[in-house]
Symmetry: C2
Amino acid sequence: MKEQLEQFYKEYKAKSNAYSLALTTMYFDQATIAPTQGNDYSNQMMAILSTESFLHAMDKDSICKLEQLVTLDIEPLLKTELERLLKHLNESKDLPQEVFTRKTLAVNESSSAWGQCKIDQDYKAFIPYLKNVIDTTKEVLTYHPNKEKHPYEILLDQFELGMTFEQYDLFFKEIKAHFVPLIKEIQEKGKHIDDSILKNKFSIEQQEKFSTELCNYLKVDSTNCNMSTSHHPFTTFLSLKDVRMTTHYYEDILLSSIYSIIHEYGHALFGLQIDEKYEGSILSRDIGSAMHESQSRFLENHIGKNKAFWVNQYPALQQLFPIFKDVALDEFMDIVNVSKPSLIRTEADELTYPLHVMIRYEIEKELFNTDSINYENLNERWNELYKEYLGVVPSHDGEGILQDSHWSSGYFGYFPTYALGSAYAAQFYHTMQQHLDVDQLLESNQFDVIAQWLKENIHHHGGAKSANEILLEVTNEPFNPKYYIDYITKKYRTLYNL
Amino acid sequence: MKEQLEQFYKEYKAKSNAYSLALTTMYFDQATIAPTQGNDYSNQMMAILSTESFLHAMDKDSICKLEQLVTLDIEPLLKTELERLLKHLNESKDLPQEVFTRKTLAVNESSSAWGQCKIDQDYKAFIPYLKNVIDTTKEVLTYHPNKEKHPYEILLDQFELGMTFEQYDLFFKEIKAHFVPLIKEIQEKGKHIDDSILKNKFSIEQQEKFSTELCNYLKVDSTNCNMSTSHHPFTTFLSLKDVRMTTHYYEDILLSSIYSIIHEYGHALFGLQIDEKYEGSILSRDIGSAMHESQSRFLENHIGKNKAFWVNQYPALQQLFPIFKDVALDEFMDIVNVSKPSLIRTEADELTYPLHVMIRYEIEKELFNTDSINYENLNERWNELYKEYLGVVPSHDGEGILQDSHWSSGYFGYFPTYALGSAYAAQFYHTMQQHLDVDQLLESNQFDVIAQWLKENIHHHGGAKSANEILLEVTNEPFNPKYYIDYITKKYRTLYNL
């Protein structure tokens, strides 16, 4: 009986994985190279497949068998895997298929519409898609077993287990208390950093060549990981041996593609360094977003904005862009780390970054607090908060409310994990420095040793452990925002001679 | 009851299409950019999805309903569609799922292995994959309802309805009778064409730029059609508004990417110009291969090897490759059309091309005539036939038996349709010249008028009509190889001053 149930689970899982790989591949294709006229048809087909996948996963008989299996005397790993799976299945067990399909279609349509709306800077055209995604997301939440919970808290918890308003409010309060005065102090008394050199145009062909340099330095292995381009950079995981990153090249923002590649490779590395025993298991995928973002933000900031990293990379950059030939490395490091309230989250410096996140967090809270959202003015609400927290106002919605793909993909509750992930990253970095001479490794082109440390301490677990378990195991204490606050404060006080 | 059955068919069809789009996208992804380490996993997942798709399609109850529906008083178009579908379903109705899955997996594994084996010029490494594909193909054929038919004839018929040994043997006999003496005569008495300029290296970056020129001239619309690269050029059809072409750039074969793009766009154009009413229907896909190849070969040869075509394109080529600056257009046309027995089918001139096809046809016949194939020597058999018909011998298997992807994908019986398609193309061209001033249109950058003629006369039917029906309708006579023989003979006698 145990053997039969195990065999059943093996087949059940394989079929789920087949649907999942198909949908991931189709989504990736659409986000990267698919000709736009095909989107309507492929969205319909993806909705059908998603429904098939949902019906397969939620089949009552199947769940019943899995519930039987988990009570038997089985391998601990299998037990953990089944428990996690059943937790997720239970969260959707009351969701009617029709509602699921409607939400899927809403998300697919909105995802494909968003890119063009962003290019056209046309928020009005995007409203019906956004409304549809939010409405169907809310409808889905009404079927969640934890009905007493606030809908937005359900979402927060889905992206990072156990996170609530209270915890995020506290966290952002800390950030506000420390970072807002520091930003002000820098503006008033900090040394002047001239980064006007970045206002030049940088040929995309040359940028692509620098990407190759970067990938070589990071030892990206093209047999298991490669890079495409898309409107918004992202990473997607097809298997433990097949991870795809994307970037976006802008002629007028040199640092954009550079830092998105480093950021995305942080995600990719996580996916590639998970223990092989988790291949095909929910434990290879169900990783908290803050934990995942801690790895991308770690690479982006603690590695990519470190002078030791650029000791190797800067000469190549200078050669590709001779405009830098008279800019010393120290001067370049000032430019890379300059702190300036700005409009685009993904290009923000480390100090102002969490405020971009806070703006989205506040808007999301509002969206899920009311049944009558004023969509017409949502872009103005965005601009208002940018003015309030960062003192800058978008000149159009492409650099305002339409800048990120998340909402178009139905990712509400994801943004706060970026800030939380940055804070985890600082805590990990503090510990790593006690084990490794990070600067020396970066200078001597040994990024692989750092990657190996991340693998052994963090990545190999996949989603088998929670963020707090890993933090405790690696850093010997639970999450503590102090490391983040200290790291940022010290870094920016030093940079600005304060 | 009719309404219910129609609704049932609508859903049945949509689900089939969803599986089909998923698999096509996954196959395309694997053939273009997928990192190789992911292939094992994705092949397993694709085999699972193919099986799901097969089980869905072959479900006895469903087929029963379709058989009921087709007998009712329904729209003629729906009737045609259902009849065609049921014909195919009946061909597979006795095939056990397990055999189907095994063949699918064999083909997936062999497809992913082939590219590397070709690069490594390692036929030995490819043998187990090829054997597995041939064995499972033969096994599948044992379940075909027409058991009395020769297995290879079943395959020939699958790719081009109604084609038999007898017909192909006759066709190739004609070709042999006319082309082999002509090839000899050219070698003995033809004027000398110096094409040594093609032995230079041509930068891939510049070749890519020329591809853009080509696509502009052919008015490729990037919102419904685009181009990637793969080991072997191919075209794939995701919907009537989403067609993907691929090409392959070789530094030492300038004409390779140029003619594969023109060839593949012939396929693409067919797929893009099918009447919208066939979207999602089997009638949009089930097109005879010879008919499809007639369109790619038409573009490649009757358009792309025409001087009028190059009047526009040649200056751009000269600019990108200054080595041509002192080569007059007429001289370049001689070079483009030079006839020389060679090793690679896709780069062969029009005169020797069908002999490449004949070699594959003969080997395929042998493969399906015996149960004890001598795999170890199959590469030598290939080389022997090249020696016999073309007087050339591959220096390694990468330019020999491993050159084409077809066998690795289980496409046995496909090759002969290339030659047949070339012959259809000549017959269509003969008629087109009576309607349009092709040269004048090409010279004045009006390829769209030619595309429109192809749409109205051929493409819009999709697969609703057979090749012979279309030939009769457009050219006023059934297939007649005379046009092909005459066209080739005249072209090459003129070119070589014979």
